[in-house]
Symmetry: C2
Subunit: 475 residues, 2 copies
């Protein structure tokens, strides 16, 4: 995978924050003075990331994923080739960071009805990501799988994720029942040193395992084997994905926020947070990027939603991410966004060239609301709606920014992943929180363990059993 | 469709607001005094709805949809039978309220891999709802359709929705190219008196049209032909759907908020809004109800997100709806929900009996994190996670309520639709806003018209052409 400097530049995504400024929004906008006042803090955040990058102990291994060894990529491509040859279906068993990246790349870069295409057109196994434990969904999935022709990629950093382990137990038993060797149908992606999946691999006779490097947390893992193996199985150019990420890294080398889009994005969002904008809407104008908004939602929410600063002062920080899709949600959320409270920042993901073109025929019906559409194309219509929505929000005094994507391909998707990861990391420094832990989910996990009778949670179970709905509060 | 009183009662959904109260949350909760202080206002809201219900001029036709004539239901069932016999695929062309209801019923009540099932198992046409104008998505859809065997249900109240009309023009031309008569492949669902679709029906030789009653707005239209025809085509028991809605109507007859769950729901949410909770999370613990959360998001956002009260005082009201899905989003949003700002109310949709069962085998691996799961079932696991999450939120002082659904079927889905519609209508009265208009989307529509050169928008186009990104704000 080689690309000229020029080709890369033509594919560079950009941040346009015109409609975040006071020039566009008057006093509802952010002034240059406000930005300049953050210049030093931003440079410090940039310097902190530069200093820590790659450090395993800080969970900053993700910064180096674009530069992983050719060997590890080769190994992934080799397995992918074998899987494509041997299996009709490929199922990811994972949840959270183990699911959202693979789903995002699939939706962004594959046919939107991939699983319904005949094999010859599909050219890759059918693809499923099971990121829940709803029994209806699991049964329904089993209805469309031929187990003998299915590969299951079990993804869990710790190897101790209850949802994923429950699925693994089920599939293991079903494979055995079908007379298949589980070992030949499983691939594990997990911590290479300490993980229950490593133990299970042994017990199942040596399941092939791919590593998630120790310093890479779930929500920052898409560019590790977590995302790369499923993508490669689908025939996605994973080298281009990594190259795009590396290009974004380079593009964000500067400590000057006016020259570093990820740093500017983080500064703008944190200024907005300081002004009470507790909602961050990501609004792609593309069905291919629906899932990207879900991926971002995890990254932004889990990284910044914290009750303690790095220096251990209590806080309740975080912006709630919301997915909206254009033009669809103009007919669902736009009314609120233009007239409701001034409580959000909308970030558009705008596509330059859609990879397919659909002209709208001119049928000359004589109807005013119909005929103006003829002669245009769907891509013109959706792009016009995107521009119109940004305009309407601006007119209503609402902060909005646009990330422009020249076209959606593996390279630009790599840029996008890395851009938002960088922006999140910078925002963590700016807010002075640890962007890499998630202590707030422990209480729920423990309560689940207690309810299912796991050893050591007897006291908590008693407490939970004492908690009944108040009959006076049930109608 | 007959059901005993007892059968209905067993299927009744309930609202449990224990974790909204000060008994559960201390001073972060809502006290009985606060509720009692709203008793009169709530009774007034209830009385206003009772007075206005069914009124076309108030857009309150939706309240009577559960009681629509047997004739109109018969007509829908007749068409549905013909469609099921004649076509392999059924495509809804619509956006917003014309799409979300049909998608919700499909996902709630059909097989989750419906379109991938062989015809004999599916027993209904493959089903698609096209609610966007992304050219990639349209091309990809066309790749999996056999036009000669496809029925297109074009849904638009006004008949003037640009996105839907663009799709209609395209499909009309394609059908003609394929030597098919468009008339035989289209069904229109629209205003029965004034709609461009009525004109187009004539021009196409008389396309069959189903009515959306005049007093029924898009986001309240699911129980009209908008939702009933697609549901009937899928083999969903639409009489049970209507019966469930009627049952909920009856269940909410009281003007006493302590006896009327929809009224209590509205009062609780508006009290929370007054305390700065500007985010409303709907969190179903069921993949079948994912789309229900999107349907709710439109209903709640568009109805209450307003900049003007009924007596014409300026305001900026509205709560931003967020979809989260359990257990999935415990691994994405829960960290923020437990530790972030106290800015949201989480409403769980909890399922009593999942309609399928998946036991988790006990494989005795000797691993602590694995073996406690064996012998349970996926339905136990997901229910335990739901309970654990409610507990964790309560412990963290976060407002949360639970809507309990004994099981997901057509009857309970009817209850759910009507419950949230009622709650939204009550909230409109409580907030003193018009829950049935959406003036805030006009600016965006006009700008789109201008950008596409529609007559009469020349001045606006000039203005838009003058708006360029500030080069200093593009990185």
């Amino acid at each position: 995978m080689r690309m000229t400097q020029e080709a890369r530049r033509a594919l560079r995504i950009t941040l346009d924050y015109t409609n975040m400024t006071d020039k566009a929004l008057g006093e509802r906008g952010i002034s240059r003075e406000e930005l300049l006042a953050r210049k030093k803090l931003a440079a410090k955040a940039h310097e902190a990331l530069r200093r820590d990058r790659g450090k395993e102990e800080n969970f900053l291994g993700w910064t180096e994923l674009p530069y992983q060894s050719g060997e590890s990529v080769k190994e992934i491509l080799k397995s992918a080739r074998e899987i494509r040859k041997k299996f009709d279906s490929f199922v990811v068993l994972g949840i959270g960071g183990s699911a959202l990246g693979p789903m995002t790349a699939f939706q962004a870069l594959c046919h939107l009805h991939h699983n319904e295409l005949p094999k010859a057109k599909r050219k890759a196994p059918r693809f499923y990501v099971e990121d829940n434990v709803d029994p209806v969904r699991m049964k329904d999935l089993l209805d469309v799988l031929d187990l003998k022709k299915t590969c299951f990629n079990v993804i869990s950093k710790s190897g101790a994720t209850s949802e994923t382990l429950a699925q693994l137990l089920l599939i293991t038993a079903l494979l055995k029942e079908a007379g298949e060797k589980p070992k030949e149908h499983f691939i594990f992606t997990t911590d290479p040193e300490k993980s229950d999946l490593l133990e299970l691999s042994k017990k199942l006779g040596g399941v092939k395992c791919f590593p998630i490097p120790r310093g890479v947390g779930g929500r920052f893992s898409e560019l590790s084997a977590v995302g790369l193996l499923p993508a490669a199985v689908l025939g996605i150019d994973i080298k281009a994905l990594l190259l795009g990420a590396a290009d974004m890294d380079k593009h964000c080398k500067s400590g000057d926020l006016f020259k570093n889009p990820a740093l500017m994005g983080a500064v703008l969002q944190t200024i907005a947070m300081g002004k009470g904008k507790n909602i961050s809407v990501l609004m792609p104008y593309s069905d291919n990027l629906r899932c990207f908004a879900d991926w971002y939602a995890q990254l932004w929410a889990e990284s910044l939603g914290k009750n303690m600063t790095l220096d251990k002062r209590p806080c309740h920080l975080g912006q709630t991410p919301v997915k909206a899709v254009g033009a669809t949600d103009q007919h669902s959320q736009l009314q609120l966004y233009t007239e409701g409270p001034f409580d959000k920042v909308v970030t558009f993901l705008s596509v330059g060239n859609y990879r397919k073109s659909v002209p709208i025929p001119d049928l000359r019906t004589g109807l005013l609301n119909v005929d103006f559409l003829g002669g245009h194309s769907l891509e013109e219509l959706i792009a016009a709606e995107n521009r119109a929505t940004a305009h309407a929000l601006k007119e209503a005094g609402r902060l909005n920014a646009t990330v422009r994507i020249p076209e959606i391909n593996a390279f630009t998707l790599g840029e996008l992943f890395y851009f938002f990861e960088l922006m999140t990391a910078y925002a963590g420094y700016l807010l002075n929180v640890n962007a890499y832990d998630q202590p707030g989910v422990e209480a729920g996990k423990k309560a689940t363990f207690a309810l299912l009778g796991k050893k050591g949670y007897g006291q908590l179970l008693k407490e939970l059993d004492g908690e009944k709905p108040d009959p006076g509060c049930v109608i």
